[in-house]
């Protein structure tokens, strides 16, 4: 089977391509010497003890922002998706496009725009969102909400509306039908949208760069500003810690919800 071995070869090449940067970073974090080097010169765990407190603070900020972003994206995105999917109102198609459009706009543009908006808001009301957790979180909703909307709309395509009629015929009110039937059936889609919103928030630099700063500095921004001046081993160590944490989260999620989670729902 030539095809098969060729397939395996391509697969290995792809996996290698994806894993190479991660391996380099993790290996470099154990390398002695003043600056980053690969292959590692000599083995040391020294950099791990050298991680500054600011990085730990930033991990926490990123986590809070990402969790908040995921939760709020679900609260806004699920009702929005259901309305876009089921509502019969003029301009539904247009509204649908508007709701998904932030995904097409470069995040840097969104970041600048949000920054402008926060300045206008400050001028008009004295409410300052710049440099706050809430500001970063709101900024991240611009892509978190569309991700949830998209996942729920995709999951909803396979939803049999007669399930809700059946629940109604059995005596369930609209609210109970939603809680007992609609929500549980859409849950895989909602979770996959939320996971994406969390991951994209945790990953974002441009928006957090404009909306954050100070006590609201997220990890990617902290790393970004650090490596501009100094590419030393402590950054590699932080990156490695984050990689391990992500891995743990992915393993945990796939154990709980199955690997389908990462590919949208499979009925």
């Amino acid at each position: 089977m030539i095809n098969r071995s060729l397939l395996v070869l391509v697969l290995l090449a792809a996996i290698g391509f994806l894993l190479a940067p991660i391996i380099v970073v993790v290996a470099a974090s154990f390398s002695g010497g003043a600056v980053m080097s690969f292959p590692p010169k000599d083995f040391t765990t020294h950099w791990y003890s050298e991680i500054p407190q600011s990085f730990y603070d930033a991990i926490w900020v990123s986590f809070v922002v990402a969790a908040g972003c995921a939760a709020m994206s679900v609260l806004v995105g699920v009702p929005a998706a259901l309305a876009l999917r089921r509502g019969r109102f003029p301009g539904r198609g247009l509204l649908s496009a508007v709701c998904l459009s932030p995904l097409m706009v470069p995040a840097l543009v969104t970041g600048v725009a949000l920054f402008q908006c926060s300045l206008v808001l400050w001028d008009l009301t004295g409410i300052g969102l710049g440099g706050t957790l809430a500001g970063v979180m709101l900024g991240h909703l611009t892509f978190g909400v569309p991700f949830v909307i998209r996942a729920v709309i995709a999951g909803h395509a396979q939803f049999d509306l007669s399930l809700e009629e059946a629940a109604g015929s059995l005596g369930a009110s609209a609210l109970r039908t939603f809680a007992l039937v609609t929500l549980p059936i859409l849950r895989p889609s909602i979770v996959s949208g939320a996971v994406l919103a969390f991951a994209m928030s945790f990953d974002d630099v441009p928006i957090a760069l404009f909306m954050g700063g100070g006590s609201a500095t997220t990890l990617p921004v902290q790393i970004f500003t650090t490596v501009q001046f100094d590419l030393s081993g402590d950054v590699m160590a932080v990156a490695s810690v984050v990689i391990v944490l992500s891995l743990l989260v992915i393993v945990a999620l796939s154990r709980i919800a199955g690997t389908d989670l990462f590919f949208g729902s499979k009925q």
Partner: protein, 361 residues
């Protein structure tokens, strides 16, 4: 008192009359079928009884209560859907318990009633399975158990057999009928399948273009359809265009063919009045037509086509002027060859007259 009263109900979808002023009722324990082709309004009627569609005009009563403006969840109905509509995230037992749970029936009673319902549809062994692990027939039996366990005022069946293959359909037909009569459940059934309607119903309402054309017991409907639509929707009927020639001594009507020279006696006329000279249709079922017979009650023609149906041959005969007649011949009997000249005849009591005009709706 009737369990279901449909009182001059109308439903417009925009400008389109899905259901024209329609009235019928279902007596306690009765099995009534709404039969019609797609687009005849039968499903809309059922959905109005269920409360999923609000009528434009008229009243709907369930068990004596006016439910016209009442939401579905307060009507106490049991509904079975074509798509099964089982909750995929609940087990069979949890699906059946759903209606009891939202009614806040206590745990002990709930479990007892679920067990009883499972026994009723013979799925005791499947209580812990999920719907995805069941066959189509089993799923529909779960749906039936889920609908009857809440002891509804009326059981609504929306083409419950349409998604199943032939063998299962026949099995489930018997199953539904057995459960329905065991519980003496007032039932409204929607189907486009005349076989299902004939074998399961106490009464059938034949629907066309949003209205009921005829409502009667299955045998009455089959034996005495009131128009050509019903005659051909329930089984097949030979229709020959005729003119009333006169009355015969035994009370039968003499007719003659509009085209050609055939003349027949018709004894099984429905309750309509036909004047001498009126143009109408002579109707007779293919199973009542036999080959051969006396020349005075005959249809002469040529065999155009032979269709083998297993136990029977369907013989398509064409008269000299293009009139068509179809006869069913037992597989053991002599079957004519294609192109052969044959004479067919029938008992005058097995034929009846139908008006040329279809009833207005």
């Amino acid at each position: 008192m009737s369990d279901v009263v449909f009182d001059r109900v109308e439903k417009m979808f925009g400008d389109f009359p899905a259901v024209r002023q329609t009235s019928f009722d279902v007596a306690p324990g009765e099995f009534v079928t709404l039969l019609g082709p797609s687009g005849s309004g039968k499903t809309t009627c059922l959905r109005m009884v269920a409360g999923f569609v609000a009528p434009t005009a008229g009243r709907i009563l369930l068990g004596g209560r006016d439910v016209t403006r009442m939401p579905a969840n307060r009507r106490n109905i049991g509904m079975v859907f074509q798509s099964y509509a089982l909750f995929p995230h609940y087990t069979v037992a949890e699906n059946i318990a759903f209606g009891l749970k939202v009614r806040r029936v206590g745990r002990a009673e709930r479990e007892a009633r679920v067990a009883e319902a499972l026994r009723l549809v013979r799925l005791e062994a499947f209580a812990a399975r999920y719907p995805a692990q069941l066959s189509g027939g089993q799923r529909q039996r779960v749906a039936l158990a889920r609908a009857v366990v809440i002891r509804p005022d009326v059981l609504l069946l929306d083409e419950p057999l349409a998604a199943l293959d032939l063998k299962l359909r026949e099995e489930l037909q018997v199953e539904i009928k057995r459960v329905q009569s065991e519980l003496n459940m007032t039932t409204l059934f929607v189907t486009h399948d005349q076989g299902e309607a004939l074998s399961m119903s106490d009464r059938i309402a034949v629907m066309q273009a949003g209205g009921i054309v005829q409502m009667a017991a299955p045998h009455a409907l089959y034996e005495r359809p009131n128009c050509r639509f019903v005659a051909n929707f329930l089984g097949r009927t030979n229709l020959i265009e005729v003119e009333v020639a006169g009355r015969l001594a035994d009370g039968a009507t003499a007719v003659r063919a509009v085209r050609g020279e055939g003349g027949w006696a018709v004894a099984g006329a429905p309750d309509q009045v036909f004047a001498i000279g009126e143009r109408c249709f002579l109707a007779t079922r293919p199973e009542h037509v036999r080959l051969g017979g006396s020349p005075e009650q005959a249809f002469e023609g040529v065999v155009r086509n032979l269709i083998y149906q297993g136990s029977l041959w369907q013989v398509e005969i064409e008269g000299r002027h293009g009139e068509a007649l179809s006869a069913l011949v037992g597989a053991g009997d002599a079957v004519p060859t294609r192109g052969a000249a044959v004479r067919a005849s029938w008992d005058p009591a097995r034929s009846f007259l139908l008006k040329a005009e279809e009833p207005a709706m």
